[in-house]
Amino acid sequence: MNDLAPQISYMLASGMVVCSFVLLYQIRLSSMLDVFAFQAVVLACSVAWQAHTQDSPQLYVTATIALVVKGGVIPAFLRRLMIKLKIHREIDPVVGVGLTLLAGVALAALAILVMFPVTAHAATFTRDDLAFALAVILLGLWMMISRRNAISQIIGFMSLENGLVLAATGAKGMPLVVEISVAFSILIALFVFGTFVFRIRERFDTVDVHVLDRFREDRQ
């Protein structure tokens, strides 16, 4: 079988998983943003390729939104936020790289193991797409859990959303309205996050969310 079209879509979808994986072990906030922007570009390419192969022009709009909003606006906003907070040179060390990545591989395996039996009757490439999308979502969640820095957690959340878009475009016929509203909610979430980060910073002089633990009620 030497049909190039599905290979490219497969390559781009699995490239998203690899980007999520690479995000997991970045320790510098600025390089994390670069990887995130790159993932958005891969997502845009993937969606545009789906638009081309599925012959559905509205997906081009989705691709453009992904490219402009996630590849341009969000990284630029976060970068400005970091410079304002003077944390753009800071590092957010991954605690136990090996274990974090091993858990990442386990999550990717879980996504594939869960998705394959469920979608037994779907077309092969839809299955791959869905499995990879779930993997991206789980890796984004894992990033939010494993990081201490608020900015890294935001990036984790945003990459999770990339996985949602990937899942939605793999299946045919997602209404454009949904995509646009998701994109807007992401933008609004970004502003809310930004304000929150400022508040945390003002209050505690750091964006390490572990200091928030002190203000919890006593845990048993």
Binding site: M1, N2, L4, P6, Q7, I8, Y10, M11, S14, G15, V17, V18, F21, Y25, V97, G98, L101, L102, G104, V105, A108, A109, I112, F116, T124, F125, D128, A131, F132
Partner: protein, 320 residues
């Protein structure tokens, strides 16, 4: 495989002529690094002269050296050489192909490393011990990563024979696989770590805080040192050959009936090695050496990417 004159000739060339090029490759890399630092650098033939000088010198073993110390250089050199004879360089058609597959080659390299680590500890100096423990730490990550590479290519080509894998990659139509790209990254990480190249270890340093390979062989002299040095050069060329055979298999011959095409293939192989040496030299000059404690992270990432490659290959049932 039937034993014909051509087959025997190609295997002999692989065994005796190609290893002789290993010091040249080393010299080229050193020259490139020196030129990039705006130094003139020694001639590319300097490694041959060094080896010759060492071979002519007397061996001065430490007084408390045991037989392990004296036999280790021979074990290291012979295992590395045997592995080299089995890796397809310019021809995928080697007489001894059936002797060992990729996994066995990894095992042979591991036994060479075992001998080296033992020899490092044998004298009882602290440097040797440090070097050995670091080498073993590196190999605990590098070896599984190599095995991940083996698994990935074996799953693609349905064989663990290196020559058959190369044959498969030559004849297969171009298929885009993310696993291959990840495997490539892993193999580069392993190549750098196993040969003690710059981000992991500096082959040109004798600074005791950082050295790994040099620390283990600090006590060696004379022909013992020459053998270990030659084995290290061979190992570098070996890894680059594995790289070329898996990812750049063009130009290799699988049909041994024409010796002229074999010569062309040999030339192409030399060219590949020279380009590889150039890239390695440039890469080594442009990155800083990392702390020893970060090496495990570096290799851990390589290992995990290899694992991910195997995993994604399972998922890609549409493309096989």
């Amino acid at each position: 495989m039937e034993i014909t004159f051509n087959n025997a000739l190609i295997q002999t060339t692989q065994m005796f002529v190609v290893p002789l090029l290993a010091p040249l490759l080393c010299g080229i890399i050193r020259k490139i690094k020196a030129r990039l630092l705006r130094r003139r650098g020694a001639s590319v033939l300097q490694p041959y002269r060094d080896l010759w000088k060492l071979l002519c010198k007397d061996v001065v073993p430490a007084p408390n050296a045991s037989w392990i110390y004296r036999s280790a250089p021979y074990i290291i050199f012979s295992t590395t050489w045997v592995v080299f004879c089995l890796v397809p360089t310019f021809s995928t058609h080697l007489l001894l192909n059936g002797a060992a597959d990729f996994i066995a080659l990894v095992g042979l390299l591991a036994s060479a490393r075992f001998a080296l680590a033992l020899a490092g500890m044998d004298i009882g100096t602290s440097f040797g011990g440090i070097g050995s423990s670091r080498e073993v730490m590196i190999s605990t990550f590098a070896e599984p990563a190599t095995l991940m590479v083996v698994f990935t290519v074996a799953m693609i080509a349905h064989t663990t024979q290196l020559s058959l894998i190369a044959d498969f990659f030559i004849h297969e139509p171009l298929i885009l696989r993310i696993s291959t790209a990840l495997t490539l990254t892993t193999l580069i990480t392993v190549l750098i770590a196993e040969n003690g190249r710059v981000p992991v270890d500096n082959p040109a340093t004798h600074l005791e805080l950082t050295m790994v390979h040099e620390a283990m062989i600090l006590e060696y002299s004379g022909r013992h040192l020459a053998l270990i040095e030659l084995a290290a050069m061979l190992k570098l060329m070996l890894y680059m050959s594995i790289f070329a055979c898996l990812f750049l298999p063009f130009g290799m011959i699988s049909d041994t009936s024409h010796l002229s095409s074999a010569c062309v293939a040999l030339l192409i192989y030399c060219l590949k090695m020279a380009v590889g040496g150039l890239m390695l030299g440039v890469a080594e000059t442009s990155v800083a050496k990392m702390r020893v404690f970060r090496v495990s992270e570096f290799l851990g990432i390589g290992l995990m990417l290899g694992l991910l490659a195997v995993l994604l290959l399972f998922a890609s049932e549409g493309i096989k």
